[in-house]
Symmetry: C2
Subunit: 360 residues, 2 copies
């Protein structure tokens, strides 16, 4: 290798997008132009379909893109385990295999989230000392973007899962948001100690133990503080995170459509809307930023990025960029070190019986 | 009493609003004009201050409004129990006492939420068979408004608390939203049975037991469905409900201020915004409806309505209307019947040991 930069290969599950494989291929084409030289893309899906889409983009025909035929597709309504175990020749399963075999250093998919989470956990395994992966999403805040995890990978979280999520999210925020010491907050319903539930209290204690050395913990935060950029990484269990994420996504769509309806209500408003249409376009981009089109599944031995099923080509391109960044910055290496150090500190809480014995 | 309509007396804690007592008094003035004849208002607060504000509104001087002097005020940062027990002569405590003594049939306050919840529970007690009250909020949906509870009164909820909330919310939605058989949904992260956590599964079973007879249960719903009006009453525990409520309120403010910023960015956009300003005003009213300015604390022996600390006079007036409606419709009577019937059905789950004995 001549270059000082490691050459990255990205496995792309090109099927399973709501907008079809054409949109995924178009996204890869946009991303390719801004990717480091030597980046390779393995596109998994039906050969004929993908070749047809690829033929429409000149830059996809310079040898950087390779199609890997996958005769099956994991559908959106399939159950997690059944979808991934039952369809060993699906684009998702084969893309996962290429990452497992270290042919590719990262995987991008906009397919079935449940199947991708189950498949990644089964096929790629979690980092040593991590029991459950977490889905990490990027949100718009008043002054800057912030991350929230877990957005639904682990709805049965224990305190140490949530405490580990702080480490996972902190490492991700360093790369994706370019922060040196991301501020972490634990999402709860009142910021006085002891006001939340038992799980919050235990997690809060664990986070304080690793504050300063491994993470930069700001403490408890309430729901209204997240959009005010009180912190850079919001941690919560997957049950709360998924509900908040989906409610907020849905509210944001509702407000957009109310605004749209109101602006069309009469000729005067329509004229006004035409003059200020730039404002509505900018608003949309601020609320749903295309550069953050992907959400990583953190805590695995490999980089796995989930793009929204309804991603457009710009979102896909944003997701590709995030995937490449994670590899280039070797996020996983630092994450593994941090998890290992934290587990040394957490051990008494994780194994209360063993600890009681050792101090006898 | 000559009228066929019962004459209602409403106790108003006039202190503790972020906008001051003047705004509360102005709200009462607006409400009075549209209230049933004979409605009485007891305003609790500092005599001099309240008399001064009242003197500015002609309709408040016709004998329907009475000031009750309260030398103390519960501040926003006071702890629940300390605030209510330590200040027996506060406007909140004295207003609660007037409801307890049945001098008034409902209480309205925009003061400290924690103190109001603690004070109401201690002073007024819960309905027979109800262990914990729930805070019920009204939200804007795509086609119509819906309710969500618990918005934070009980963050340590057990399945039967959440199941009871369905009954409380259903009775409230009948009066506040004018629905005959409000549809109930249990908020979770996947609508397949067994996908949520243990609490969801247990609550779901209990709700199915009373479906048809006592409530109209639609089943599990996800975060993105609430704004789509999948149901009329969303039930969840107070921890999730409070986080979702505060996150959504905050997101809604964020979007407003992004829109505002974008519309002011250049002269063209400013001109457009001026022409379509009616649209932005309507949008605001749809997102933050003034007619639903109050959130009831349900499950108590009396009607208690919490208005937002930042309520303007129209929100206060809306909250007064809701309070009077609850009394006029005698919501509490039907609620008590429904709770009692449901508890007969739930009993085995509530008291598994007693039930095991009785079937021996």
């Amino acid at each position: 290798m001549n270059s000082s930069e490691a050459k990255v290969t990205l496995a792309v599950d090109a099927m399973g997008s709501d907008r079809g494989a054409a949109e995924v291929v178009a996204g890869v084409s946009i991303a390719l132009d801004v990717s480091p030289r030597g980046t390779k893309f393995l596109l998994f899906g039906k050969d004929e379909i993908l070749q047809n889409h690829i033929s429409k983009f000149e830059n996809l025909q310079n040898g950087q893109v390779e199609v890997r035929h996958a005769p099956e597709v994991v559908e959106m309504d399939e159950k997690p385990i059944a979808g991934i175990k039952g369809k060993k020749n699906s684009s998702m399963a084969l893309a996962l295999k290429s990452v497992k075999d270290q042919e590719a250093q990262a995987l991008l998919s906009c397919g079935n989230t449940g199947c991708l989470m189950a498949g990644s956990t089964i096929r790629l395994r979690t980092l040593e000392g991590v029991e459950r992966p977490a889905l990490c999403t990027i949100w718009p805040g008043r002054e800057r973007y912030f991350t929230l995890l877990d957005a639904g990978a682990n709805p049965h979280a224990k305190p140490y899962h949530i405490a580990q999520n702080a480490i996972l999210g902190s490492n991700y925020a360093r790369v994706a948001l370019g922060l040196v010491r991301p501020k972490i907050g634990l999402l709860t319903i009142g910021t006085e100690e002891g006001k939340g539930n038992e799980m919050i209290n235990e997690t809060h204690s664990m986070l304080k133990e690793i504050d300063g050395s491994i993470i930069n913990y700001s403490g408890l935060i309430e729901g209204f503080q997240i959009f005010e950029n009180a912190v850079d990484v919001v941690v919560c269990d997957g049950f709360v995170g998924n509900i908040v994420l989906k409610a907020c996504e849905s509210l944001s769509k509702l407000i957009s459509s109310f605004l749209d309806e109101e602006l069309r209500r009469n000729a005067l408003r329509k004229t006004g809307a035409l003059l200020s249409k730039g404002a509505f376009k900018s608003l949309k981009q601020r609320i749903n930023p295309e550069q953050f089109g992907g959400a990583p599944l953190l805590g695995l031995t490999q980089n796995v990025i989930k793009a929204h099923g309804s991603s457009n080509r710009n979102h896909i391109s944003g997701a590709v960029k995030i995937a490449l960044d994670l590899v280039q910055h070797d996020m996983l290496a630092q994450m593994a070190i941090d998890i290992s150090e934290a587990n040394e500190i957490f051990r008494p809480e994780l194994f209360p019986e063993a600890s009681a014995k050792s101090t006898e």
